[in-house]
Symmetry: D2
Subunit: 141 residues, 4 copies
């Protein structure tokens, strides 16, 4: 990874009020990949009977994680914006678990970055959700 | 709309801690359509320089609004869960504006409901975002 | 529509060997909208027992129709390429029917065009399929 | 793979007139994965100047390959139908090359199967396209 791409994880989250408000934690970032955690929070509950969290915070985590992976890609200059994002929800997340999202920016053209991501809880057999998206970028080379 | 589908808007939001925590307001619900508002909140900001909100809360609003439209469809029995949801982000939302999402459950098969939605701010020329998704359902007829 | 955008329907299909090979017919084109027909053909059958056609030719029709709508948009310069396309299949097409796809390029940014489309057979109550996609573009203004 | 799932590749393609008409070849099938090839054909050309094939045949290949992976999954009973399919086009396929699609049905619920696929030509560094989709299924267990 180019030195100009080294990103301070604390500064990164400071610059994302929405991520901070939800309690997202940057776990890993660099070279087109990002790992973010979202600890369980009662505010996220979508079904009060089971305590299962709503798809909304998972969408927010996936979108933020995908965007972070794009920004950390060595060929990407400056900021990025989501063009579109598809999320597939395979199953309910386990109440109480931190959700960990891993995103990979796997291809960059002159103006578009292609990203995929996976969100998991403590049961690693089946992901909670997967994401596929495209982001607008400027390219450095 | 079948009487059995009349839903109390206050009860509906009470049953959605995540929607309540974000400040979502149910504006209209019935017959396979739902309208929800999300007032501007500094917690949602994705870009501190401009005050533009992050895609995450818009995703959460879209997902909730689409799910509500499915639950209000006369042919749908009981609860629903998102299978997949695609969101297209056409432009940044105007800082300070309430985002209003309108969802329509336009087709229901034995086990899947098809939904589309639009999110707008005060500039009604171009939507902020559109959504296309499928939801798991039980069918009453 | 700008004069420079007037497109000869016969030339348009001549320039699309794939569309021609499938028998696609350009019905309408201009100002960011396109209507294309795909007459029923035994080559398209996906289920020999019912004669129902496969999703593949419908995907091809949708992709071509969406691309045509982009190229006919007054703000778009030159050629376009699909970035991503989502197709939702609501129901089987009626065997023997021509499928008619209508696409609308509803928003264009500096480098991306947003498109939606609907495919119908002779039963106009429920579409056979809908499409949502983004295309790479050059913008003229 | 359960014995009841062993599928004769020749019978499989015989049962798919559309796949046969396009020249698709079944390379591998079983246990929730499928590999199909699509040899280059002038009928597929989308851009006569370069000989690059249109997205349509790639969509058809991806849809067929994803469906085949679902049908070969040990937990799936009987036939399947596409609910929705997203295809991301990373780059133009190399004219003259056979396109090989590999699909994996990675999760099956009571009524929905989740699938992802990759399409490659002879340049294996970057896929030509990826696909993400959901299919309607009956489940055997």
């Amino acid at each position: 990874m180019d030195n100009s791409k080294s990103i301070d994880p604390i500064q990164f989250m400071e610059a994302l009020p929405h991520g901070k408000a939800l309690g997202m934690q940057l776990i890993e970032l660099g070279d087109g990949t990002a790992v973010l955690g979202l600890p369980y929070d009662k505010r996220f509950v979508g079904d009060p009977e089971t305590g299962v969290i709503h798809g909304g915070p998972i969408s927010a985590l996936m979108d933020t994680c995908c965007g972070a992976s794009v920004m950390s890609h060595p060929e990407v200059m400056g900021i990025t914006a989501t063009i579109d994002l598809r999320i597939d929800y395979m199953r309910a997340a386990k109440p109480g678990d931190t959700i960990v999202a891993r995103a990979e920016c796997h291809h960059v053209t002159r103006s578009v970055a292609f990203v995929r991501a996976v969100a998991e809880d403590s049961n690693s057999n089946t992901p909670v959700a997967t994401a596929t998206g495209t982001f607008m970028v400027g390219k450095s080379k």
